[in-house]
Amino acid sequence: MVIIEKQRTSGLNREIIADALLQAAWLNLLKSEHFDSDALWNRVHGDVNLLRELVDLFAAEIPVMLTKIEKAIKQGSPSDLENASHKIKGSMLQFSAHAAAAIARQLEENGRIGSMAGAGNLLLDLQQEISELQQTLEAMARDGRQP
C-alpha cells in the first residue's frame, strides 16, 4: 500500500514527485477504493493464463449484464433491476472491484425497494467504473503483471 503524505514532499523534483504522486494516488485508488489489484492477483495465484481467460470473459459478459440493467431501468422493472444488479455485483466482488460492486449494490437495493430514482445516474457511474476497470484488467493481462 502506497501512502500519500503531501506535507512531507519537499526538496525533490516537482515533476517526478507529481508523477509519483499521480501514480501512487491511482494505485491507491485502485487498491483501496475502486479496485484492489493485489487481491485479484493473489486470488488467481498470479496465473496469467487464468487472468486472461477471465478478462476475455469479462469483456464478453459484462456488457450483456449492463444492457440488462439498462433495459430494466427503461422498462421500470425493479425485479429485473435487482436481479441484474445482483449478478454484476457478484462479478465485481470476484474481481475485487469495490467501487463498481458498491454501485451495483445500490442499484440492487433500488430494485429491491422498487425505486428507480437515481438509477440512471448510478448506471452511468457503474459504466464508467467498469470501463476504467476493464482497461486496467486488460493491461494486467497484457503485461502479465500487476499495474
Partner: protein, 657 residues
C-alpha cells in the same frame, strides 16, 4: 495407494481441461492424506458464467482433485441430483428460476447426502446464519476467498457433512431405541424435572410422554426415592426399586438403573415395570408351597391310611368273632371312627389335589354335612355360620372330592371377604330354571349357595373373578375361584355371582340333577359288604405286616387259600415256587426291594391268567403315575374294610368266570 492418487489427480485435471500448475508451496500448506486426493464430485450451481469461470479457475490447484458439473438453473440442478450424488454443491442462491433461501431449501431437500457451500454475492448475515443452521456447511461471500481457502472450505464442508451424517444416523438409531424401548427411559435435571422421556416411562405413571416431560417423576413415586436419587446423583450409578403411587390408587413396582451426570447436571434413569413379574414370582412361590403342602398331605394320608387299614381290619375281625352284642357294638364304633378318619384323609388328598375325577351319583347335602366341621375350623370364631340343606334335593353326577373342594374354596373366599367378621350362609336346595334365564338352561338343579356379608365387589371385579390368577388379595394365588369354575363346568354345572356394595356377595352353583335317580347314593366302598365265600388262591403282598396278617386272616376265614409276602421280591419267589394257579394278586405299590410295578410286570409275564388288584394309601392316580397299566376297577384305596375288599375280590374273579 500412490498410483490411485495419481490416477485421481490425472482424471480431475483432464476433466477440468487445464494443466495443474503445481508448486511446492501449495503442497506444503495443505496436509495431504488419502481423502485429500480423493476425486470429489462437485456440482456448481451458478447462473453467472463469469463467476462460474472464476470459481473453477480459482480451484485450479494441484491438490484440487475435483470433477465439476456446472448448471445455471435450479431446475437443472434438481434434475442432476436425481441422477447423480455429488460430494459437494457450490450454490449461488440467486438464479434465474429461484432466489434466496428458497433455492437452498429446494437443493437441500434433493441432496440429503451432499455438503452444501453457499457462494453468494450478498453479505447477508441473517441469511447466512439461517442457511447454516438449516444444514449448509458454509456460507462464503464472493470476492472474499481465494482458491486454497475455497478448496479447504470444500474439504472441511465434506468432512462436516460426513460427520453430521454419521451423527444423524447414530441419533436416529438411538432415537429409535429410545422410543421403542419397552423399558422406561428418563433424563432428568438435578431438581428432578424430566427433560426427556419415552412413551414407556410415561405409561408407568399413566402419562403421555409429552406430559411427563416437564413433570417431576418423583411426584408419582413413593416417598423417599427423591432423596435416594439425590444421593445417587453425587455418585456414578446405582440400582434399586420403588413403587409408583398414582392418583387413581394404582401402584406399580419399578426396577431402576440410575446413571448420574450423563451430561453435566443431567441424570439417566432406566425403568422396568416388574409388578407382573413379582406377582408371577409370588404365584410361583405360592404354587410351590401348595405343591409341597400337597405332597406332605398326600404322604401323611398314605401312612395314615395304612394305619387305619390295620385298625379297621382288626376291628372287623373282632366284629366277626364277637360273642356278645356289647363286643360287636364296640367293634362297630371302632369301624365307624375309622370311617370318619378315612374321610379326613380323603379331604387331605383333595386338598393336595391328588385325586383324579371320579364321577358318581352324589347327594350334595351329604357332602356339605360331611364338611361342616372343617367349615367351622376354616372360618374361625369371628364369623357366624349358618348351614341349611333341604332334604331330598336329589342326586348329581360329580366327583365327591371335587365337590368338597368347591365348598371349601367358596368358604375360604367368603371368609376373606369378611376380615372384620360377619355371617357365612351355605344353603343347598332344589332349583328349577325357567326359559327366561339365558345363563342357566331350563332344567332341575341342586343349588349350592355360599353367601357372605362382606364389602361386596365392583362390577369390574365381578367380571374377572373367575379368571385364573386374578386376585384382589395380597397373598391370594388367584386360583381358588378359577378352580371352582373349572370343577363346576367339568361337572356340567353353572355358577353365578351377585354382589352389592357393603351388603356382601353370593355365589350360586347349579348342578344338574340326575333325572329318575333315587336318593340312595352308591354305598361307600368303605362299608361295602360281600357275603360270597371264596375258594381261589390269592397272593397278598403288603409291607405293612400288621395289615398283611389281618388281611390274610380275614381272607382265609372267607375260604380263600392265601399266600402272603412282605415285598415284591418275596412275592416273586412265592409265585415262581407255587405249583398251582394263583387266581389273584393283591399288592401294594410302594414297597421296599421291589415295587408293585416290578411285581405286576413279572406276574403278567409268568402267570398271564392271574388277576391283579392294587391297594394303596395313595390316591388312585398314583397307580398310573407308577406306570402300572390297570383297569380303574382293579384298584382299592386304603383304608378299606375287609368287606369292601371281599366284594372287590369277588367282582374281579366273578367277572373272569
Amino acid at each position: 495407494m500412490e498410483d490411485s492418487h495419481k490416477t485421481n489427480v490425472s482424471q480431475a485435471t483432464k476433466i477440468l481441461g487445464i494443466e495443474a500448475q503445481g508448486s511446492g508451496v501449495e503442497m506444503s500448506t495443505l496436509v495431504m492424506d488419502s481423502r485429500q486426493t480423493e476425486l470429489l464430485q462437485v456440482l456448481l450451481v451458478e447462473d453467472n458464467v463469469l463467476d462460474a469461470k472464476f470459481i473453477t479457475g480459482l480451484l485450479r490447484l494441484p491438490t484440487a482433485t475435483l470433477q465439476f458439473q456446472h448448471v445455471t438453473r435450479l431446475g437443472e440442478a434438481l434434475s442432476h441430483l436425481e441422477r447423480d450424488h455429488p460430494d459437494v454443491i457450490l450454490l449461488d442462491l440467486n438464479l434465474e428460476d429461484s432466489a434466496g433461501y428458497e433455492t437452498f431449501s429446494r437443493i437441500q431437500q434433493a441432496a440429503s447426502g451432499a455438503a452444501i457451500l453457499v457462494l453468494s454475492g450478498s453479505d447477508d448475515e441473517e441469511l447466512a446464519i439461517k442457511t447454516v443452521r438449516e444444514g449448509a456447511q458454509d456460507y462464503l461471500v464472493k470476492g472474499t476467498f481465494e482458491g486454497r481457502l475455497l478448496l479447504r472450505s470444500i474439504r472441511y464442508a465434506i468432512e462436516r457433512k460426513r460427520s453430521e451424517e454419521a451423527l444423524r444416523q447414530t441419533e436416529a438409531t438411538v432415537r429409535a431405541i429410545f422410543e421403542n424401548s419397552l423399558e422406561g427411559i428418563v433424563i432428568f435435571a438435578g431438581d428432578g424435572t424430566c427433560l426427556e422421556a419415552n412413551s414407556a416411562a410415561g405409561a408407568l405413571v399413566n402419562l403421555s410422554r409429552n406430559d411427563l416431560i416437564g413433570s417431576r417423576l418423583c411426584d408419582f413415586c413413593e416417598k423417599g426415592i427423591e432423596q435416594v436419587w439425590s444421593q445417587l446423583s453425587t455418585s456414578e450409578s446405582g440400582r434399586g426399586q420403588f413403587w409408583t403411587q398414582l392418583k387413581d390408587g394404582s401402584r406399580r413396582l419399578v426396577n431402576y438403573s440410575f446413571t448420574a451426570n450423563i451430561l453435566p447436571g443431567q441424570h439417566l434413569a432406566m425403568l422396568r415395570d416388574i409388578t407382573e413379574q413379582q406377582d408371577m414370582e409370588e404365584q410361583l412361590r405360592d404354587s410351590q408351597k401348595m405343591e409341597a403342602v400337597g405332597r406332605l398331605a398326600g404322604g401323611v394320608a398314605h401312612d395314615f391310611n395304612n394305619i387305619l387299614g390295620i385298625i379297621s381290619g382288626h376291628a372287623e375281625l373282632l366284629e366277626s368273632s364277637a360273642s356278645t352284642l356289647a363286643e360287636r357294638g364296640r367293634a362297630e364304633k371302632i369301624l365307624s371312627a375309622t370311617e370318619k378318619a378315612a374321610s379326613l384323609t380323603r379331604q387331605l388328598l383333595a386338598f393336595g389335589r391328588k385325586q383324579v375325577m371320579s364321577l358318581k351319583l352324589l347327594d350334595v347335602a351329604a357332602v356339605l354335612e360331611g364338611l361342616s366341621s372343617m367349615v367351622d375350623c376354616m372360618v374361625g370364631a369371628g364369623v357366624q355360620i349358618s348351614i341349611r340343606a333341604t332334604k331330598n334335593v336329589g342326586l348329581v353326577r360329580a366327583d365327591q372330592s371335587q365337590m368338597e373342594q368347591v365348598i371349601m374354596n367358596l368358604t375360604a373366599n367368603a371368609r376373606e371377604a369378611m376380615p372384620d367378621g360377619g355371617t357365612l350362609t351355605i344353603t343347598i336346595d332344589r332349583y328349577e330354571s325357567s326359559t327366561d334365564q339365558p345363563e342357566l338352561p331350563p332344567g332341575e338343579y341342586a343349588r349350592l349357595s355360599v353367601s357372605d356379608t362382606g364389602a361386596g365387589m365392583s362390577q369390574e371385579v365381578q367380571s374377572q373373578i373367575f379368571e385364573p390368577f386374578f386376585t384382589t388379595k395380597k397373598t391370594g394365588s388367584g386360583l381358588g375361584l378359577s378352580t371352582v369354575y373349572g370343577i363346576v363346568k367339568q361337572s356340567g354345572g353353572y355358577i353365578t355371582v351377585t354382589s352389592e356394595a357393603q351388603r356382601g356377595s353370593t355365589f350360586n352353583v347349579f348342578l344338574p340333577l340326575v333325572s329318575g335317580s333315587a336318593l340312595n347314593p352308591a354305598p361307600s366302598e368303605f362299608r361295602k359288604r360281600s357275603h360270597v365265600p371264596g375258594h381261589e388262591t390269592i397272593l397278598v403282598v403288603d409291607n405293612e405286616k400288621e395289615l398283611l396278617n389281618a388281611s390274610c386272616e380275614y381272607l382265609e376265614s372267607c375260604g380263600y387259600r392265601v399266600l402272603s409276602a412282605e415285598d415284591g421280591k418275596e412275592a416273586i419267589e412265592i409265585c415262581d415256587r407255587h405249583p398251582g394257579p394263583i387266581s389273584l394278586l393283591i399288592s401294594d405299590i410302594v414297597m421296599p426291594r421291589l415295587s408293585g410295578r416290578g411285581l405286576v410286570d413279572h406276574v403278567r409275564k409268568t402267570r398271564p391268567r392271574t388277576n391283579v388288584l392294587i391297594i394303596s394309601g395313595y390316591a388312585d392316580d398314583a397307580v398310573w403315575r407308577h406306570g402300572i397299566a390297570l383297569d380303574p376297577s382293579c384298584f382299592l384305596q386304603k383304608p378299606f374294610t375287609f368287606q369292601a375288599l371281599s366284594a372287590k375280590i369277588r367282582a374281579i374273579l366273578d367277572k373272569e368266570s
